[in-house]
């Protein structure tokens, strides 16, 4: 394996770790809201969060590119704040990966929260726990299997993305050239040996991730 492959692997890990952390941080309140709200917005918000699951990655990538660009509202906001525009940057990749993997994190957590039901939280309230206290001392620990699934899926899905990355990040080594794009690069240049190394590694990695997931589902009896 050459050093450029290693750079791609490192970049991918960095991207997936950062994205997963962001997903857990922001996805958890969204999942909590979706699991508990009686608002009429529940349907639309739920659908919006799930959208990346069914859209072709190129569609998501296209719209992100447009909105990140000099004429898009995000691009203009970045200009106004004197920040670098997002296309073809690592930060852009993080934002795009975040949106792309959101349903894979929100759904398992939402399901876990819904499975807990109201009763344990009512019991906590009757034992003097404030809503925030009850969330951390009862809801989070009880939803742990959902968080495990969400973390694994969020990470793996970010590692596996290709279309969105290509549209938003391009192919800049060390900056936006992640594993999946690197493989595409090797194949285009007929460098099958290097492609084999990376592709085979991906197959092995993905298999191990799923093995871990199914193993944990069996142990905890938790579906997602």
């Amino acid at each position: 394996m050459d050093s450029s492959s290693l750079t791609a692997i490192c970049l991918t890990c960095k991207l997936a770790t950062l994205t997963t952390m962001l997903l857990l941080l922001i996805g958890t309140p969204i999942a909590w809201w979706l699991a508990n709200t009686r608002s009429r917005l529940k349907g639309p918000v739920g659908a919006l969060v799930t959208l990346p699951l069914v859209l072709p990655p190129t569609v998501l990538g296209f719209y992100l590119l447009v909105s990140f660009g000099p004429h898009g509202f995000i691009g203009q906001a970045m200009d106004a704040l004197n920040l670098q525009r997002l296309p073809f940057t690592f930060a852009g990749l993080v934002v795009a990966s975040f949106l792309y993997s959101l349903p894979f994190v929100v759904q398992p957590i939402q399901n876990a929260f819904e499975a807990i039901g109201k009763r344990p939280l009512e019991a906590a309230a009757s034992l003097r726990a404030s809503p925030l206290d009850a969330f951390f001392s009862v809801a989070l620990p009880l939803a742990r299997p959902g968080f495990l699934v969400a973390t694994v899926l969020g990470f793996a899905h970010t590692v596996g993305e290709f279309g969105v990355v290509l549209m938003i990040g391009g192919n800049i080594p060390g900056k936006t050239q992640v594993l999946s794009v690197k493989i595409f690069d090797y194949v285009e240049n007929a460098n099958y040996t290097q492609a084999h190394w990376l592709a085979g590694g991906m197959v092995f990695f993905s298999f191990m991730v799923l093995l871990l997931l199914y193993g944990s589902r069996k142990r905890t009896g938790w579906g997602w």
Binding site: A123, S126, L127, A129, S130
Partner: protein
């Protein structure tokens, strides 16, 4: 304790005014779907009624007119659900400490006493999943009481248990009843549980409180018999007077005395009995040629119709002028004997159910 809750749900309106004593067990009794649990949830602050007022021990927890509504976690109450809602990720000890810690109580004498009272000392290290239904409910009750609540709310705490577990846990509840100095509100649709545990009874029907008063008074009212159906009958508080040589025990109460079979009762103890209306027959004169042992002279206080056709309910006042009994006889016998208020009769008690 005063409560008033008015709230509409699709297809159901709750509209109750409640007055409850500050001590002892108040039962909210009524059929499923009558709104008992909703009342309890309103008292706990888990539901908010559009119009509502609740004061406990002189403290206002809810007063919608003045915009006062304390959240559940700010109300000093204990809550026991139908199914024990122990936290599955915590051990029994951690479950007990969950509320104690937040209520600012330390482990101490009271903690030790509670472990003994509910007999859960040996369960402390166990996980809730490994406990039986009865054990879980005992832990849930201890967990609620360890927060030192000023009101204990129990929502059908025995309904999810089978008969054996029920019988296993009832004595603990009776012990609590004797040792607690806070009011308990007990929701149940089982008359047996209510007659064993309650001192005060609120009858809930269709979202309304149709009767409210001391247990014995309510149970002796002939006009409410439809709510108690086949179990209609008065409850008596008696004292065990003496064990007699032939295996009988004599019970005494202000209106007279009763003999029951069995010699395991300790003289001096209180014993609560339920005398079903269908277990009392009436005679116009005292008879000696009968195998019925328990006969009580009484005056007919009232006559009412029953929900079963062909029967009449007769309310009897015993010779102390206070104690009331209910007898269910056929309408034909009532007419044949010309039983009307004011008549002196002999109540023949065929059997006595010992409650506790």
């Amino acid at each position: 304790m005063l409560g008033r809750f008015r709230v509409g749900y699709p297809g159901f309106t709750l509209d109750v005014d409640l007055f409850m004593p500050e001590k002892g067990v108040t039962a909210l009794f009524g059929p499923s779907g009558s709104g008992k649990t909703t009342i309890l949830r309103c008292m706990a602050g888990l539901e908010r009624s559009t119009e509502g007022f609740l004061s406990v021990a002189g403290e206002v927890w809810q007063d919608e007119e003045h915009g006062i509504f304390l959240s559940t976690h700010k109300r000093p109450l204990g809550l026991v659900f139908q199914e024990a809602s122990l936290f599955p990720h915590l051990s029994v000890l951690k479950n007990l400490q969950y509320g104690m810690k937040r209520a600012g109580n330390e482990k101490g004498e009271r903690f030790e006493a509670m472990l003994d009272l509910l007999d859960i000392r040996s369960l402390l290290k166990r996980a809730p999943d490994s406990l039986s239904g009865g054990e879980r409910q005992r832990v849930a009750i201890a967990r609620a009481l360890l927060t030192r609540p000023r009101l204990l709310l129990m929502d059908e705490p025995l309904a999810a248990l089978d008969m054996r577990r029920k019988l296993e846990i009832l004595p603990y509840l009776e012990r609590l009843h004797n040792e607690l100095s806070i009011p308990v509100v007990y929701v149940s649709h089982s008359l047996n549980e209510v007659t064993r545990l309650a001192d005060h009874l609120v009858l809930i029907e269709n979202g309304r409180a149709t009767a409210n008063g001391p247990l014995m008074d309510i149970l002796a009212r002939p006009d409410l018999s439809a709510a108690f159906a086949g179990e209609t009958g008065a409850v008596l508080e008696t004292t065990v007077a003496a064990r007699e040589a032939d295996g009988l025990t004599r019970l005494e109460f202000p209106g007279g005395k009763l003999y029951i079979a069995g010699d395991t009762y300790t003289p001096g103890n209180r014993l609560r009995c339920h005398i079903h209306a269908s277990d009392i027959s009436l005679a116009l004169s005292a008879r000696t040629d009968t195998s019925i042992l328990n006969t009580l002279p009484a005056t007919v206080a009232a006559v009412a119709e029953t929900d079963t056709p062909g029967h009449a309910l007769v309310q009897l006042r015993l010779m102390d002028g206070k104690t009331l009994l209910l007898a269910r006889i056929t309408e034909r016998s009532r007419q044949a004997l010309a039983i009307t208020p004011g008549l002196t009769v002999i109540a023949q008690v065929k059997s006595v159910a010992i409650l506790r």
